[in-house]
Symmetry: C2
DNA sequence: CGGAACGTTGATAGCTATCAATCGACGTGG
DNA sequence: CCACGTCGATTGATAGCTATCAACGTTCCG
């Protein structure tokens, strides 16, 4: 019932060129993500490229990568498209707990059975099997970089959850949005999805509201304020940060600096 | 400057008996916490008891278990007292990201250098070194339970962060508070800190506000509403849930059900 | 052409914050 | 033993951010 027709949400005004450029780069996504976390050997890069180029599963927009109550067995990596962990309250209120981007892992690690929670595709999503990554990570002798990156990615994920908590707890609507935009910009940039400070932004205003704990109407008004101020441009599903520096003070954003594993 | 005199926050009207009962049980804290996550062998229980009975570090209330920007090398376990991960904004707004209770680990795993974040003691805190736990967890052959519990504890921690996100994003003040109280009740119960549905509750109303994203004043009014409704009793640093069932619908709370590792 | 999804706008309501002041408990120094 | 400062809790008055309701515009699509 939830499997509506796929929605690519690629930038609409662009031609085939961009499409190709993006898909050509997809197999590198995991490697890029990991390389941003720690130093990888050529062997490791090759392995990650092979994994990223492996057979991909396609999930249509709005489909569930993980249904409520369900526990996935396998680790998977998203190599394209956006997804989100969603929590629904009984009266219909929704909370997007976190946004999951290309290069991020869907781990079965959370043995804690989640309360009415699911992972939903915000766009069409492609995933690849992550078993090989897991195996490599276990062999810390042969793949020290992958082992380290796996751990760091988990820590990074945790840090982002804490960031989201601060946003929701103590930021105003404007600050939440500024902070989120900088975070997403940063994360997209890591996996090569940013061009000229702009990136595909498939969140609807309603989803944005569910993510930031705001109503649709207020999201709309805050966006327009930012547009009037000339700090962002958001149209045709593409977000461009026109004035990153102006955004930072409001958001108190600092890109996470990583400590390399010794 | 922050090291004010220790504050035990034991229930004030009680005699020596309770004091002894609590401290006698402290060494079991880690074992209790782990046993609630998975099945432990007697060997494992004994090991955890020994670890819990080992030399403890004492931290006065308000002291920092981890200063901003600092990375701790060692894993430590809290065996008594409450702490919190705190994030401070430049203009003085504070967010308590999570509450850390006896039995919880302070892991150095977060190699992501946190942004102006610290772990602060809310009461006097006792910690023990967790290196032995880490070692045991690595030896999955000999200590399968400890290995599993360590992983589950991490997943549990993550789940609690997500719970906190939902609270802050989509719950009203009343719901946030009800949900939090149930969570803390549940977590305290696991480590044997609950007696007759009541437990020591050292959070000031201001801290509660910083945790739930509310102002002190509103915390106060919400608490009084709950008191008038007869669902809680909170005095002398002790919280009693008088009507758990009445609290649950408001909070949509469900205790996390755990999947045992195979 | 109608419907559905998304975005936009105006009016109004309400939850929660802020400001200010008071009170009680506690610890300290005179 | 008491004045005094501090911390936490409490209360009243007021302001403001954000939600809710309702309606309309736009785009896309069968």
């Amino acid at each position: 019932m939830r499997n509506e027709p796929a929605d690519l949400r690629e930038p609409r005004g662009r031609g085939l060129e961009r499409r190709r450029a993006i898909s050509d780069v997809r197999f590198e996504t995991i490697a890029r993500r990991f390389a941003a976390l720690t130093r990888l050997s050529q062997t490791e890069l090759d392995l990650l490229h092979r994994i990223g180029a492996g057979p991909a599963n396609i999930w249509p927009a709005r489909s569930l990568l993980e249904a409520p109550g369900e526990d996935q067995e396998a680790t998977r990596y998203i190599i394209s498209g956006w997804a989100a962990r969603v929590r629904e309250l009984q009266d219909g209120r929704r909370q997007l707990v976190q946004v999951i981007l290309p290069g991020d892992a869907l781990t079965p690690t959370l043995q804690v059975r989640q309360r009415q929670q699911m992972i939903q595709c915000l766009t069409m999503v492609q995933t690849v099997d992550g078993a090989a990554v897991k195996l490599a990570a276990r062999d810390g002798g042969k793949f020290p970089g992958i082992a380290a990156a796996t751990e760091l990615a988990a820590a990074h994920d945790r840090a982002l959850l804490m960031e989201q908590i601060t946003r929701l707890g103590r930021h105003t609507a404007y600050e939440r949005m500024a902070n989120l935009f900088l975070e997403l910009h940063h994360r997209c940039n890591v996996v090569g999805l940013v061009h000229a400070d702009g990136f595909i932004f498939p969140l609807t205003q309603e989803s944005l509201g569910d993510l930031l704990g705001l109503s649709v109407v207020h999201v709309n008004r805050t966006l327009q304020l930012m547009r009037r101020e000339g700090v962002i441009e958001l149209k045709h599903g593409r977000l461009t940060l026109l004035d990153t520096e102006a955004l930072k003070p409001a958001a108190e954003f600092r890109p996470p600096s990583l400590a390399y594993l010794g």
